[in-house]
Protein backbone atom coordinates (compact mmCIF):
# COMPACT_ATOMS: atom_id res chain seq x y z
CA UNK A 1 0.00 0.00 0.00
CA UNK A 2 2.77 2.40 0.95
CA UNK A 3 4.58 1.70 -2.32
CA UNK A 4 1.53 2.49 -4.44
CA UNK A 5 0.94 5.70 -2.52
CA UNK A 6 4.57 6.68 -2.91
CA UNK A 7 4.38 6.13 -6.67
CA UNK A 8 1.20 8.18 -7.00
CA UNK A 9 2.63 10.92 -4.79
CA UNK A 10 5.66 11.03 -7.09
CA UNK A 11 3.47 11.28 -10.20
CA UNK A 12 1.47 14.01 -8.50
CA UNK A 13 4.66 15.83 -7.52
CA UNK A 14 5.96 15.79 -11.12
CA UNK A 15 2.66 17.20 -12.38
CA UNK A 16 2.93 19.86 -9.68
CA UNK A 17 6.37 20.79 -10.98
CA UNK A 18 5.13 20.89 -14.57
CA UNK A 19 2.09 22.95 -13.62
CA UNK A 20 4.44 25.72 -12.56
CA UNK A 21 6.09 25.49 -15.95
CA UNK A 22 3.31 25.93 -18.54
CA UNK A 23 5.81 26.65 -21.28
CA UNK A 24 7.25 23.14 -21.04
CA UNK A 25 3.77 21.63 -21.19
CA UNK A 26 2.95 23.71 -24.25
CA UNK A 27 6.18 22.61 -25.91
CA UNK A 28 5.43 18.95 -25.22
CA UNK A 29 1.98 19.15 -26.78
CA UNK A 30 2.35 21.79 -29.48
CA UNK A 31 5.79 21.13 -30.97
CA UNK A 32 4.98 17.66 -32.41
CA UNK A 33 1.83 19.06 -34.04
CA UNK A 34 3.73 21.99 -35.56
CA UNK A 35 6.43 19.66 -36.89
CA UNK A 36 3.83 17.35 -38.40
CA UNK A 37 2.15 20.35 -40.06
CA UNK A 38 5.53 21.45 -41.38
CA UNK A 39 6.14 18.01 -42.87
CA UNK A 40 2.74 18.00 -44.43
CA UNK A 41 3.38 21.42 -45.98
CA UNK A 42 6.82 20.36 -47.18
CA UNK A 43 5.38 17.36 -49.00
CA UNK A 44 2.17 19.01 -50.19
CA UNK A 45 3.05 18.08 -53.76
CA UNK A 46 3.97 14.49 -52.96
CA UNK A 47 1.55 13.40 -50.28
CA UNK A 48 2.51 9.75 -50.65
CA UNK A 49 5.83 10.55 -48.99
CA UNK A 50 4.03 12.25 -46.12
CA UNK A 51 1.71 9.28 -45.78
CA UNK A 52 4.71 7.00 -45.45
CA UNK A 53 6.66 9.15 -42.99
CA UNK A 54 3.93 10.56 -40.74
CA UNK A 55 3.06 7.40 -38.78
CA UNK A 56 6.72 6.80 -37.92
CA UNK A 57 6.96 10.38 -36.67
CA UNK A 58 4.11 9.63 -34.27
CA UNK A 59 6.46 7.19 -32.58
CA UNK A 60 9.60 9.28 -32.77
CA UNK A 61 8.27 12.47 -31.16
CA UNK A 62 7.22 10.99 -27.83
CA UNK A 63 10.43 8.94 -27.71
CA UNK A 64 12.71 11.94 -28.22
CA UNK A 65 10.78 14.39 -26.05
CA UNK A 66 10.29 12.07 -23.09
CA UNK A 67 13.93 11.01 -23.28
CA UNK A 68 15.09 14.61 -22.92
CA UNK A 69 12.56 15.58 -20.24
CA UNK A 70 13.22 12.51 -18.13
CA UNK A 71 16.99 12.65 -18.32
CA UNK A 72 17.04 16.32 -17.31
CA UNK A 73 14.43 15.95 -14.56
CA UNK A 74 16.32 13.02 -13.07
CA UNK A 75 19.65 14.75 -13.37
CA UNK A 76 18.19 17.72 -11.49
CA UNK A 77 17.10 15.39 -8.72
CA UNK A 78 20.62 14.06 -8.49
CA UNK A 79 22.39 17.42 -8.54
CA UNK A 80 19.79 19.24 -6.42
CA UNK A 81 20.13 16.82 -3.53
CA UNK A 82 16.49 15.71 -3.58
CA UNK A 83 17.51 12.27 -4.88
CA UNK A 84 19.80 11.81 -1.89
CA UNK A 85 16.99 12.87 0.41
CA UNK A 86 14.62 10.40 -1.25
CA UNK A 87 17.22 7.67 -0.76
CA UNK A 88 17.18 8.28 3.01
CA UNK A 89 13.38 7.78 3.09
CA UNK A 90 11.54 4.45 3.13
CA UNK A 91 10.60 4.92 -0.54
CA UNK A 92 11.76 2.16 -2.92
CA UNK A 93 13.61 2.75 -6.16
CA UNK A 94 10.83 1.20 -8.18
CA UNK A 95 8.23 3.33 -6.38
CA UNK A 96 10.01 6.35 -7.80
CA UNK A 97 10.58 4.85 -11.23
CA UNK A 98 6.94 3.83 -11.55
CA UNK A 99 5.91 7.31 -10.41
CA UNK A 100 8.01 8.77 -13.19
CA UNK A 101 6.66 6.35 -15.76
CA UNK A 102 3.06 7.16 -14.85
CA UNK A 103 3.63 10.91 -15.07
CA UNK A 104 5.42 10.88 -18.39
CA UNK A 105 3.20 8.10 -19.76
CA UNK A 106 0.11 10.22 -19.13
CA UNK A 107 1.71 13.20 -20.85
CA UNK A 108 2.59 10.92 -23.75
CA UNK A 109 -0.99 9.73 -24.10
CA UNK A 110 -2.25 13.30 -24.38
CA UNK A 111 0.53 14.12 -26.81
CA UNK A 112 -0.24 11.03 -28.91
CA UNK A 113 -3.97 11.82 -28.97
CA UNK A 114 -3.28 15.35 -30.21
CA UNK A 115 -0.71 14.33 -32.82
CA UNK A 116 -2.58 11.31 -34.13
CA UNK A 117 -5.84 13.30 -34.13
CA UNK A 118 -4.16 15.91 -36.30
CA UNK A 119 -2.80 13.31 -38.71
CA UNK A 120 -5.98 11.28 -38.94
CA UNK A 121 -8.62 13.98 -39.02
CA UNK A 122 -6.69 17.13 -39.94
CA UNK A 123 -4.56 15.65 -42.70
CA UNK A 124 -6.85 12.67 -43.48
CA UNK A 125 -4.03 10.17 -43.42
CA UNK A 126 -5.22 6.82 -44.69
CA UNK A 127 -4.69 4.33 -41.87
CA UNK A 128 -5.98 0.85 -42.61
CA UNK A 129 -5.55 -0.53 -39.09
CA UNK A 130 -7.21 0.46 -35.80
CA UNK A 131 -6.48 4.01 -34.70
CA UNK A 132 -6.08 3.07 -31.04
CA UNK A 133 -2.98 1.13 -31.97
CA UNK A 134 -1.27 4.38 -33.01
CA UNK A 135 -1.84 5.74 -29.50
CA UNK A 136 -0.70 2.50 -27.86
CA UNK A 137 2.51 2.57 -29.88
CA UNK A 138 3.12 6.24 -29.14
CA UNK A 139 2.68 5.48 -25.44
CA UNK A 140 5.12 2.57 -25.66
CA UNK A 141 7.65 4.86 -27.36
CA UNK A 142 7.20 7.52 -24.70
CA UNK A 143 7.79 4.96 -21.94
CA UNK A 144 10.85 3.75 -23.84
CA UNK A 145 12.16 7.33 -23.96
CA UNK A 146 11.45 7.74 -20.24
CA UNK A 147 13.15 4.47 -19.32
CA UNK A 148 16.25 5.24 -21.38
CA UNK A 149 16.32 8.79 -20.05
CA UNK A 150 16.24 7.49 -16.46
CA UNK A 151 19.09 5.16 -17.26
CA UNK A 152 21.44 7.55 -19.07
CA UNK A 153 20.95 10.40 -16.61
CA UNK A 154 23.21 8.43 -14.29
CA UNK A 155 26.07 8.98 -16.72
CA UNK A 156 25.68 12.73 -17.02
CA UNK A 157 27.31 15.12 -14.60
CA UNK A 158 25.72 18.26 -16.03
CA UNK A 159 22.62 19.22 -17.96
CA UNK A 160 24.85 19.96 -20.96
CA UNK A 161 25.99 16.36 -21.01
CA UNK A 162 22.46 15.07 -20.52
CA UNK A 163 21.25 17.01 -23.55
CA UNK A 164 24.14 15.63 -25.62
CA UNK A 165 22.90 12.10 -25.05
CA UNK A 166 20.05 12.94 -27.39
CA UNK A 167 22.19 13.21 -30.56
CA UNK A 168 24.43 10.40 -29.27
CA UNK A 169 21.80 7.79 -28.46
CA UNK A 170 18.52 8.90 -29.99
CA UNK A 171 19.38 10.36 -33.40
CA UNK A 172 21.17 7.23 -34.72
CA UNK A 173 18.02 5.25 -33.97
CA UNK A 174 15.95 7.77 -35.91
CA UNK A 175 18.42 7.73 -38.82
CA UNK A 176 18.68 3.97 -39.34
CA UNK A 177 15.39 2.88 -37.80
CA UNK A 178 13.59 2.67 -41.12
CA UNK A 179 12.18 6.19 -41.30
CA UNK A 180 14.40 7.46 -44.13
CA UNK A 181 14.94 4.16 -45.91
CA UNK A 182 13.37 0.73 -45.57
CA UNK A 183 15.65 -1.63 -43.67
CA UNK A 184 15.98 -4.02 -46.61
CA UNK A 185 17.62 -1.32 -48.75
CA UNK A 186 20.22 -0.34 -46.18
CA UNK A 187 23.83 -1.61 -46.21
CA UNK A 188 23.92 -5.02 -44.51
CA UNK A 189 25.91 -3.87 -41.48
CA UNK A 190 23.51 -1.01 -40.78
CA UNK A 191 20.52 -3.26 -41.26
CA UNK A 192 21.91 -5.71 -38.70
CA UNK A 193 22.65 -2.86 -36.32
CA UNK A 194 19.11 -1.53 -36.75
CA UNK A 195 17.70 -4.83 -35.51
CA UNK A 196 19.39 -4.20 -32.16
CA UNK A 197 17.77 -0.79 -31.71
CA UNK A 198 14.31 -0.47 -30.15
CA UNK A 199 13.07 2.40 -32.28
CA UNK A 200 13.33 0.20 -35.38
CA UNK A 201 10.55 -1.99 -34.00
CA UNK A 202 8.44 0.99 -33.00
CA UNK A 203 8.63 2.43 -36.51
CA UNK A 204 7.87 -0.97 -38.03
CA UNK A 205 4.78 -1.39 -35.88
CA UNK A 206 3.44 2.02 -36.88
CA UNK A 207 3.98 1.22 -40.56
CA UNK A 208 2.19 -2.10 -40.14
CA UNK A 209 -0.90 -0.46 -38.71
CA UNK A 210 -1.06 1.95 -41.62
CA UNK A 211 -0.91 -0.83 -44.19
CA UNK A 212 -2.99 -3.63 -42.68
CA UNK A 213 -6.56 -3.48 -41.50
CA UNK A 214 -5.86 -5.65 -38.47
CA UNK A 215 -3.04 -5.59 -35.96
CA UNK A 216 -0.65 -8.10 -37.51
CA UNK A 217 1.44 -10.68 -35.69
CA UNK A 218 4.42 -8.64 -36.79
CA UNK A 219 3.04 -5.55 -35.08
CA UNK A 220 2.43 -7.50 -31.85
CA UNK A 221 5.95 -8.86 -32.04
CA UNK A 222 7.17 -5.26 -32.35
CA UNK A 223 5.17 -4.27 -29.27
CA UNK A 224 6.70 -7.18 -27.39
CA UNK A 225 10.24 -6.18 -28.42
CA UNK A 226 9.71 -2.54 -27.46
CA UNK A 227 8.22 -3.61 -24.11
CA UNK A 228 11.25 -5.81 -23.46
CA UNK A 229 13.55 -2.88 -24.16
CA UNK A 230 11.50 -0.75 -21.74
CA UNK A 231 11.81 -3.35 -19.00
CA UNK A 232 15.52 -3.81 -19.70
CA UNK A 233 16.17 -0.07 -19.54
CA UNK A 234 14.17 0.20 -16.30
CA UNK A 235 16.17 -2.54 -14.65
CA UNK A 236 19.38 -0.81 -15.70
CA UNK A 237 17.97 2.50 -14.43
CA UNK A 238 17.20 0.90 -11.07
CA UNK A 239 20.80 -0.33 -10.89
CA UNK A 240 22.11 3.18 -11.48
CA UNK A 241 19.94 4.63 -8.71
CA UNK A 242 22.44 3.93 -5.96
CA UNK A 243 21.46 4.53 -2.40
CA UNK A 244 25.02 4.56 -1.22
CA UNK A 245 28.02 6.19 -2.83
CA UNK A 246 31.62 5.15 -2.49
Amino acid sequence: MYHIRASFATTHRIFGQLAHDPRTIALIFVVPCILLALFRWLFSDSLSVFDRVAPALLGIFPFVIMFIITSITTLRERTGGTMERLMTLPVGKFDLIIGYMMAFGLLAIIQALLASGLILYGFNLDVAGPHWFLVVMALADALLGTALGLFVSAFARTEFQAVQFMPALVLPQVLIGGLFMPLAQMPDALETLAYFLPLTYAIDALNEVVNYSEVTDNAWRDVLVVTSFIIGALLLAALTLRRRTK
Binding site: Y2, R5, A6, A9, T10, H12, R13, G16, Q17, H20, D21, G80, G81, T82, E84, R85, L86, M87, T88, L89, P90, V91, R243, R244, T245, K246
Partner: protein, 238 residues
Protein backbone atom coordinates in the same frame (compact mmCIF):
# COMPACT_ATOMS: atom_id res chain seq x y z
CA UNK B 1 21.63 0.59 33.67
CA UNK B 2 23.22 2.61 30.91
CA UNK B 3 21.07 3.16 27.85
CA UNK B 4 22.40 1.96 24.51
CA UNK B 5 23.84 4.82 22.49
CA UNK B 6 21.90 6.09 19.45
CA UNK B 7 25.01 5.86 17.34
CA UNK B 8 28.07 3.74 17.96
CA UNK B 9 31.05 3.84 15.64
CA UNK B 10 34.12 1.67 15.90
CA UNK B 11 37.15 2.11 13.66
CA UNK B 12 34.98 3.86 11.12
CA UNK B 13 36.91 4.77 7.99
CA UNK B 14 35.80 6.29 4.69
CA UNK B 15 38.10 6.60 1.71
CA UNK B 16 37.14 8.55 -1.39
CA UNK B 17 39.47 8.09 -4.35
CA UNK B 18 42.86 8.05 -2.58
CA UNK B 19 41.82 10.39 0.23
CA UNK B 20 41.05 9.19 3.71
CA UNK B 21 38.06 11.37 4.57
CA UNK B 22 37.29 9.70 7.89
CA UNK B 23 40.17 8.07 9.68
CA UNK B 24 39.48 5.32 12.18
CA UNK B 25 36.75 7.02 14.23
CA UNK B 26 35.45 5.42 17.39
CA UNK B 27 32.71 7.29 19.25
CA UNK B 28 29.24 7.20 20.75
CA UNK B 29 26.29 9.51 20.43
CA UNK B 30 23.95 9.32 23.41
CA UNK B 31 20.19 9.11 23.04
CA UNK B 32 17.95 12.03 23.92
CA UNK B 33 20.64 14.66 23.64
CA UNK B 34 21.89 17.30 21.26
CA UNK B 35 25.35 16.28 20.09
CA UNK B 36 27.38 18.85 18.21
CA UNK B 37 29.61 17.68 15.39
CA UNK B 38 32.05 20.52 15.28
CA UNK B 39 34.88 21.08 12.87
CA UNK B 40 36.12 23.33 10.10
CA UNK B 41 34.84 22.81 6.57
CA UNK B 42 36.59 19.89 4.93
CA UNK B 43 36.98 18.05 8.23
CA UNK B 44 34.65 15.23 7.16
CA UNK B 45 31.44 16.27 8.94
CA UNK B 46 29.18 15.79 5.93
CA UNK B 47 30.75 12.45 5.03
CA UNK B 48 30.23 11.21 8.58
CA UNK B 49 26.60 12.31 8.50
CA UNK B 50 26.04 10.68 5.12
CA UNK B 51 27.46 7.43 6.48
CA UNK B 52 25.09 7.61 9.46
CA UNK B 53 21.98 8.22 7.31
CA UNK B 54 22.98 5.35 5.02
CA UNK B 55 24.02 6.96 1.74
CA UNK B 56 27.78 6.63 2.16
CA UNK B 57 29.76 3.39 2.10
CA UNK B 58 32.22 2.89 4.94
CA UNK B 59 34.66 0.47 6.51
CA UNK B 60 34.57 -0.52 10.16
CA UNK B 61 31.45 -0.67 12.23
CA UNK B 62 28.70 1.92 12.50
CA UNK B 63 25.58 1.04 14.47
CA UNK B 64 22.62 3.40 14.35
CA UNK B 65 19.57 2.81 16.58
CA UNK B 66 20.56 -0.83 16.92
CA UNK B 67 21.09 -1.61 13.23
CA UNK B 68 24.07 -1.30 10.93
CA UNK B 69 24.02 2.09 9.16
CA UNK B 70 22.45 1.68 5.74
CA UNK B 71 19.89 -0.88 6.93
CA UNK B 72 16.53 -0.23 5.28
CA UNK B 73 14.73 -0.37 8.64
CA UNK B 74 16.49 2.84 9.62
CA UNK B 75 14.94 4.91 6.84
CA UNK B 76 11.76 5.44 8.83
CA UNK B 77 13.69 6.45 11.92
CA UNK B 78 16.11 9.07 10.62
CA UNK B 79 15.49 12.63 9.45
CA UNK B 80 18.32 14.17 7.46
CA UNK B 81 18.93 17.78 6.51
CA UNK B 82 21.64 18.31 3.92
CA UNK B 83 23.79 21.40 3.89
CA UNK B 84 22.20 22.78 0.72
CA UNK B 85 18.40 22.65 1.06
CA UNK B 86 17.27 19.47 -0.71
CA UNK B 87 13.81 20.58 -1.82
CA UNK B 88 12.09 20.97 -5.18
CA UNK B 89 12.69 24.53 -6.35
CA UNK B 90 9.78 24.38 -8.76
CA UNK B 91 7.22 23.39 -6.14
CA UNK B 92 5.58 25.53 -3.48
CA UNK B 93 6.47 25.13 0.18
CA UNK B 94 3.22 23.29 0.82
CA UNK B 95 3.67 20.97 -2.18
CA UNK B 96 7.19 20.11 -1.05
CA UNK B 97 6.12 19.32 2.49
CA UNK B 98 3.06 17.36 1.37
CA UNK B 99 5.08 15.18 -0.99
CA UNK B 100 7.70 14.31 1.60
CA UNK B 101 4.97 13.84 4.23
CA UNK B 102 3.48 11.05 2.12
CA UNK B 103 6.87 9.41 1.64
CA UNK B 104 7.80 9.73 5.31
CA UNK B 105 4.35 8.44 6.37
CA UNK B 106 3.78 11.50 8.51
CA UNK B 107 0.66 11.43 10.68
CA UNK B 108 -2.41 13.37 9.62
CA UNK B 109 -2.17 17.05 10.50
CA UNK B 110 1.60 17.14 10.79
CA UNK B 111 1.97 19.13 7.57
CA UNK B 112 0.00 22.08 8.93
CA UNK B 113 1.66 21.82 12.33
CA UNK B 114 5.16 21.82 10.93
CA UNK B 115 4.50 24.75 8.59
CA UNK B 116 3.35 26.65 11.65
CA UNK B 117 6.30 25.57 13.74
CA UNK B 118 8.79 26.62 11.06
CA UNK B 119 6.95 29.93 10.59
CA UNK B 120 6.32 29.25 6.93
CA UNK B 121 2.56 29.90 6.87
CA UNK B 122 2.95 33.13 4.91
CA UNK B 123 5.19 31.46 2.32
CA UNK B 124 3.28 28.20 2.03
CA UNK B 125 2.04 28.96 -1.50
CA UNK B 126 5.29 30.46 -2.75
CA UNK B 127 7.62 28.55 -5.03
CA UNK B 128 10.72 27.37 -3.21
CA UNK B 129 12.97 29.07 -5.75
CA UNK B 130 11.55 32.44 -4.71
CA UNK B 131 12.35 31.96 -1.04
CA UNK B 132 15.29 33.44 0.80
CA UNK B 133 18.15 31.18 1.87
CA UNK B 134 16.88 31.04 5.43
CA UNK B 135 13.35 30.19 4.35
CA UNK B 136 14.63 27.38 2.14
CA UNK B 137 16.66 26.04 5.05
CA UNK B 138 13.50 26.02 7.18
CA UNK B 139 11.56 24.09 4.51
CA UNK B 140 14.37 21.56 4.34
CA UNK B 141 14.36 21.23 8.13
CA UNK B 142 10.57 20.93 8.18
CA UNK B 143 10.80 18.02 5.74
CA UNK B 144 13.27 16.23 8.01
CA UNK B 145 10.90 16.49 10.97
CA UNK B 146 8.04 14.78 9.08
CA UNK B 147 7.16 11.33 10.33
CA UNK B 148 8.66 12.05 13.77
CA UNK B 149 12.05 10.36 13.27
CA UNK B 150 13.90 9.21 16.38
CA UNK B 151 17.23 10.50 15.13
CA UNK B 152 17.75 13.84 13.43
CA UNK B 153 20.96 14.37 11.50
CA UNK B 154 21.27 18.05 10.68
CA UNK B 155 24.12 19.32 8.53
CA UNK B 156 24.71 23.00 9.35
CA UNK B 157 20.99 23.70 9.77
CA UNK B 158 21.34 27.24 11.06
CA UNK B 159 23.81 28.73 8.58
CA UNK B 160 22.63 32.09 7.28
CA UNK B 161 19.57 32.29 9.51
CA UNK B 162 18.79 35.42 11.44
CA UNK B 163 19.85 35.33 15.10
CA UNK B 164 16.31 35.32 16.44
CA UNK B 165 15.34 32.32 14.35
CA UNK B 166 18.57 30.58 15.22
CA UNK B 167 17.78 30.93 18.87
CA UNK B 168 14.29 29.55 18.28
CA UNK B 169 15.65 26.60 16.33
CA UNK B 170 18.10 25.75 19.07
CA UNK B 171 15.22 25.87 21.50
CA UNK B 172 13.33 23.50 19.19
CA UNK B 173 16.34 21.14 19.10
CA UNK B 174 16.42 21.13 22.90
CA UNK B 175 12.66 20.51 23.07
CA UNK B 176 13.00 17.61 20.66
CA UNK B 177 15.83 16.16 22.71
CA UNK B 178 13.70 16.55 25.84
CA UNK B 179 11.03 14.46 24.09
CA UNK B 180 13.62 11.71 23.78
CA UNK B 181 14.85 12.34 20.26
CA UNK B 182 18.52 12.25 19.42
CA UNK B 183 20.02 15.11 17.46
CA UNK B 184 23.37 15.24 15.73
CA UNK B 185 23.96 18.80 14.58
CA UNK B 186 27.03 19.84 12.63
CA UNK B 187 28.46 23.31 12.65
CA UNK B 188 31.68 25.11 11.88
CA UNK B 189 30.59 27.95 14.14
CA UNK B 190 32.05 27.47 17.58
CA UNK B 191 29.42 29.48 19.44
CA UNK B 192 26.83 26.93 18.33
CA UNK B 193 28.88 24.28 20.06
CA UNK B 194 28.18 26.05 23.33
CA UNK B 195 24.54 25.09 22.98
CA UNK B 196 25.15 21.34 22.62
CA UNK B 197 25.05 18.78 25.43
CA UNK B 198 27.98 16.78 24.11
CA UNK B 199 30.55 17.41 21.43
CA UNK B 200 32.45 15.58 18.75
CA UNK B 201 35.36 17.63 17.50
CA UNK B 202 36.48 16.62 14.04
CA UNK B 203 39.52 17.81 12.14
CA UNK B 204 41.07 16.33 8.98
CA UNK B 205 38.93 13.23 9.34
CA UNK B 206 40.17 12.51 12.86
CA UNK B 207 38.28 12.81 16.08
CA UNK B 208 39.95 15.29 18.42
CA UNK B 209 37.49 15.02 21.25
CA UNK B 210 34.29 13.42 22.37
CA UNK B 211 32.65 14.23 25.64
CA UNK B 212 30.37 16.69 27.29
CA UNK B 213 31.15 20.34 26.83
CA UNK B 214 31.94 20.74 30.53
CA UNK B 215 34.45 17.91 30.38
CA UNK B 216 36.07 19.44 27.33
CA UNK B 217 36.43 22.83 28.95
CA UNK B 218 37.80 21.51 32.22
CA UNK B 219 40.16 19.03 30.55
CA UNK B 220 41.64 21.73 28.33
CA UNK B 221 41.46 24.39 31.08
CA UNK B 222 39.68 26.79 28.76
CA UNK B 223 36.45 28.76 28.95
CA UNK B 224 35.14 28.55 25.38
CA UNK B 225 34.79 25.77 22.85
CA UNK B 226 36.84 27.85 20.42
CA UNK B 227 39.83 27.84 22.80
CA UNK B 228 39.22 24.23 23.73
CA UNK B 229 39.29 23.26 20.06
CA UNK B 230 42.66 24.96 19.64
CA UNK B 231 43.96 23.34 22.80
CA UNK B 232 42.78 19.95 21.58
CA UNK B 233 44.60 20.45 18.28
CA UNK B 234 47.78 21.44 20.10
CA UNK B 235 47.47 18.44 22.37
CA UNK B 236 47.00 16.17 19.36
CA UNK B 237 50.26 17.42 17.89
CA UNK B 238 52.30 16.52 20.93
Amino acid sequence: MKQDPAIFASELTVKKAQNTVLNNLTFEVAKGMVTGLIGPSGSGKTTLMRAIVGVQKYKGSLTVLGSAAGNSKLREKIGYVTQAPAIYQDLTVLQNIRYFATLAQAPEGQVAMIIDQMQLAKQSHQLAEHLSGGQKARVSLAVALLGNPELLVLDEPTVGLDPLLRRELWQLFKDLAAQGKTLLVSSHVMDEAEKCDTLLLLRDGRLLWQDSKEELLSATKTTSVQDAFLAAIEKGKN
